[in-house]
């Protein structure tokens, strides 16, 4: 009983680590004619989030890898590496470049990035680092002014 309980706890921790580290990317098509600033109708919205866990803010424990392959249906990318930190601004921009390739347009607007650190949940021992990037993807050609 004790052994099976231990196995369950280990499996749960492993699942948590994979789920918690998994990068998240989503392309949502703009299924509407509602325009945004300047009367332009976007093609899609894009967001990517990547996570890493660090012991005492400096020893990398595990990380999600940036979304660099697959089609636009991918939301959670269960691609995890141990003892590395891939949650970086550059990697988010690599994912953005991949998303632009998938959608077929290189024009973007409202690009923003943000990072978030939380360590109190582990009494400051382990830091959960998150880097988020989002933007609107616009149609390849700007609409002509009326």
């Amino acid at each position: 009983m004790k052994t099976s309980m231990k196995s369950f706890v280990v499996a749960a921790l492993a699942a948590l680590m994979f789920a918690g580290c998994s990068s998240y990317s989503e392309i949502a098509r703009w299924e509407s004619d509602i325009p945004i600033n300047d009367g332009e109708v976007p093609l899609a919205s894009f967001v990517t989030q990547n996570f890493s866990y660090q012991l005492l803010w400096c020893v990398p424990l595990c990380t999600g890898l940036p979304w660099t392959e697959g089609n636009e249906d991918v939301v959670d990318d269960f691609n995890v590496r141990f003892f590395a930190d891939e949650a970086t601004l550059d990697n988010n921009l690599v994912s953005l470049n991949h998303a632009l390739g998938v959608v077929g347009s290189l024009r973007i607007s409202q690009l923003r990035s943000c990072e978030d650190n939380s360590s109190m949940w582990s009494l400051f021992l382990v830091n959960r680092h998150e880097v988020r990037t989002q933007c609107l993807i616009l149609k390849p050609e700007a609409p002509k002014a009326k």
């Binding site: 400096c58 601004l89 550059d90 973007i108 690009l111 943000c114 949940w121 009494l123 400051f124 021992l125």
Partner: protein, 152 residues
């Protein structure tokens, strides 16, 4: 054993305090294939992300916070730490962003701020101790566009 736990706890707190402010730049050229609306060209442009956070007691007494300091020698902003002083705010982020843009001779585009607050009620039994403490985090990201590009 108790001493070891205390030492680890102290190391963890110091590490957290040291990570209260950061400035991150993307690699130049990583966005060269992209076209950003309203910007003539993003060749050589860099995305910069500035982040500060602080820990407070009763939301009003600052314990430790990130400090964005201008380094005159390196001509750049560096992340530092301030104790019992609140350095987390829109003004601090904006000043840091302006200094970075001016020192690199860049214009700014896509400037966005975000902030989040957390309380630690869940981190202690019954929430009574944790609820006394909270943290605030503010972030700004912007595109640094070299002036020679934007003047086209």
């Amino acid at each position: 054993m108790k001493k070891l736990i205390m030492k680890i706890g102290a190391a963890a707190l110091i590490a957290s305090a040291a990570g209260c402010a950061s400035v991150t730049y993307s690699t130049p050229g990583i966005m060269d294939n992209t076209a950003v609306k309203g910007v003539k060209s993003v060749d050589g442009a860099q995305l910069v992300m500035i982040d500060t956070s602080g820990y407070y007691m009763f939301w009003t007494i600052p314990l430790v916070s990130g400090d964005l300091r201008w380094n005159d020698e390196k001509k750049s902003i560096e992340g530092g730490t301030s104790f019992f002083k609140d350095q987390v705010g829109l003004g601090e982020l904006q000043n840091a962003l302006m200094k970075i843009a001016e020192s690199r001779n860049c214009d700014l585009a896509e400037v966005y701020y975000s902030d989040s607050d957390t309380t630690y009620a869940g981190a202690s039994y019954g929430g009574a101790i944790g609820a006394c403490f909270g943290s605030s985090q503010m972030c700004v990201s912007a595109l640094l566009v070299p002036r020679r590009m934007s003047a086209k």
